[in-house]
């Protein structure tokens, strides 16, 4: 399972065309979500005269920066439905995209460290089971059996009192996922245009009719925003607001090690999440900076805090070296759930607010967002995640099951 060879890939996975003067739809943002949306627009809705515009290089945003954890053990029905649909897609996508991106279903444990955690976790296991999501409650001994390097002694500050476990969860190689989607998009005729920053929108009354970019103006009938950390910047250009705050989120890796960590371990309470990459690095996620930021770097004390928790839970990590740290800009909402659907501007649609956990949602975000763009109406899976919920009060408060304290 670990130390697998990375998949071979041909030199060129997609063309680099010049932008055409007009498209049936333009997707802003060439991260995983933008690419998945374009793929499903072409595959499920026959829309192939479309472009994905990316201001930097393909999938160089959060797609290249995340810790690649995929799971669907969310608490509320609406979230369980969309994330579980995503997980089912992850299970078939390598074959469908004809590209092995090393989706490894090695399971995810979410540790409980307090009585409150234990109760909340057991409740979530129950909710997951009712929603057809695989979930188990593990006692500390079972936790130890699955991940022997975990310290389950009770003389640490926050002892492990148990864990939820989702066996079908796991990790995938994120950049290979992006390349797999990009390759298929290209085959289906989608133009992927890099170094193309959207700088404004052209409107006819309240209807968007084009985008302004650093490579010129492009007319289009529909615009889908998939710009993660920058969604509110784009919304502002289009003349509306989003209830989004952008925060730096950090991660780090160690140097390569022998396989020591066979699963994925997350702790909301002491705030760390760890897996071992296919090559052997320990991959760890930290918390968000409390303040708004677009700097793609984070505060050192956040890393320090997370390392302290990691070393207490995994004493052998004390001798590992940090190879590098980096940050991404995540777009958070107050209910820790994404926003997918229509906007106050006609023919403009938004997919954002996936915050610290949107990688796992990539296939379902793409599939449902493509449906919304193609038909102008919500897909039953993204309907609850409409922008209107902040007005109606039908929030989907996933702070608990988002499983990280941000």
């Amino acid at each position: 399972m670990m130390a697998d060879l990375l998949p071979e890939h041909p030199d060129f996975l997609w063309r680099n065309p010049e932008p055409k003067s007009s498209y049936d739809a333009v997707i802003v943002g060439g991260g995983g979500h933008g690419l998945a949306t374009a793929y499903f627009l072409a595959k499920n809705h026959g829309m192939t005269n479309i472009a994905v515009l990316e201001k930097g290089w393909l999938a160089g945003g959060n797609m290249a920066r995340n810790t690649t954890i995929i799971r669907s053990n969310y608490l509320w029905d609406e979230s369980a439905a969309i994330y579980e649909h995503a997980l089912k897609l992850w299970e078939i996508l390598p074959e469908e995209l004809e590209y092995d991106f090393l989706f490894s279903q090695r399971g995810v444990m979410n540790l409980a460290h307090t009585l409150g955690d234990v109760r909340e976790s057991m409740r979530r296991v129950g909710a997951n089971k009712l929603n057809g999501v695989d979930a188990e409650w593990l006692d500390p001994q079972q936790v130890k059996e699955l991940c022997p390097i975990l310290n389950i002694s009770d003389n640490i500050r926050y002892p492990v009192m148990g864990a939820t476990y989702q066996p079908r969860a796991g990790i995938a190689k994120h950049d290979h996922v992006a390349w797999a989607f990009a390759r298929k998009c290209d085959e289906l005729g989608v133009d992927i245009i890099q170094n193309c920053e959207v700088t404004g929108f052209i409107k006819d009354g309240n209807r968007v009719t084009g985008v302004k970019t650093n490579q010129g103006t492009i007319n289009t009938e529909k615009v889908g925003l998939c710009a993660a950390g920058h969604s509110s910047v784009l919304a502002e250009m289009a003349g509306f607001r989003l209830p989004i705050q952008s925060h730096p989120l950090q991660a780090l890796v160690s140097e390569l090690h022998e396989p020591v960590h066979p699963t994925v371990v997350m702790s909301n309470h002491v705030h760390v999440y760890v897996s071992q990459a296919h090559k052997g690095e320990l991959v760890m996620g930290a918390g968000v900076d409390s303040y708004n930021g677009y700097g793609q770097r984070g505060s050192f004390h956040v890393i320090e805090h997370q390392m302290a928790a990691a070393v207490e839970l995994f004493p052998i990590f004390a001798r590992a070296h940090v190879l590098r740290t980096w940050g991404g800009i995540v777009d958070t909402t107050l209910d820790a759930s994404p926003i997918v659907g229509t906007t106050p501007v006609d023919n403009m649609f938004v997919n954002c607010g996936w915050g610290t956990g949107g990688f796992k949602g990539t296939p379902a975000a793409g599939l449902t967002f493509a449906h919304t763009i193609a038909t102008g109406t919500p897909h039953h899976l993204n309907k609850p995640f409409a922008l209107e919920r902040f007005e109606t009060g039908a929030l989907i408060d996933e702070h608990g099951a988002a499983a990280v304290a941000h």
Partner: protein, 142 residues
């Protein structure tokens, strides 16, 4: 890590402070008259500026006072620290005399000139010697 200059205590590490989000968001004057859309705006919608952003901070492990700060969300440069209840230094209505010369009054509630660097710095220095603000007219009782 940010080095934040508390108006009362001086420069301290970011870890001593608590972030309070966007500054200058006033509690609705007539809450009974707000419709759902307006309530949503007040409760859930905040600016998410890329660039100079006015925000509130609490010196939670120091003087426990709230203050406002103008910070660039891209470079993280702190451009001004100023008391609760005073106008945002780079957005206040321009004072006719000052707008030409770029020099600002040193009163904490003074109006300064656009985004000129020197006037923001002047405000920042001025406010660091101002008495601590005990009133929180923007509802900063988090």
């Amino acid at each position: 890590m940010l080095l934040i200059s508390c108006p009362n205590c001086g420069s301290r590490d970011e870890t001593e402070f608590h972030y309070g989000g966007q500054a200058h968001v006033a509690y609705p004057e007539n809450p009974n008259e707000l419709n759902d859309r307006e309530w949503a705006e007040f409760l859930f919608y905040r600016d998410n500026t890329k660039g100079a952003f006015a925000e509130r901070w609490l010196h939670s492990t120091g003087c426990r006072q709230w203050f406002n700060m103008l910070r660039d969300t891209v470079t993280y440069e702190i451009q001004a620290v100023y008391p609760m209840g005073t106008p945002r230094p780079d957005k206040a209505a321009p004072a006719p005399a000052a707008s030409e010369s770029g020099t600002a009054s040193t009163a904490p509630d003074s109006t300064t000139t656009g985004s000129a660097g020197p006037s923001i710095a002047a405000t920042s220095i001025a406010t660091s010697t101002a008495p601590p603000s005990t009133t929180a007219p923007e509802g900063a009782t988090k």
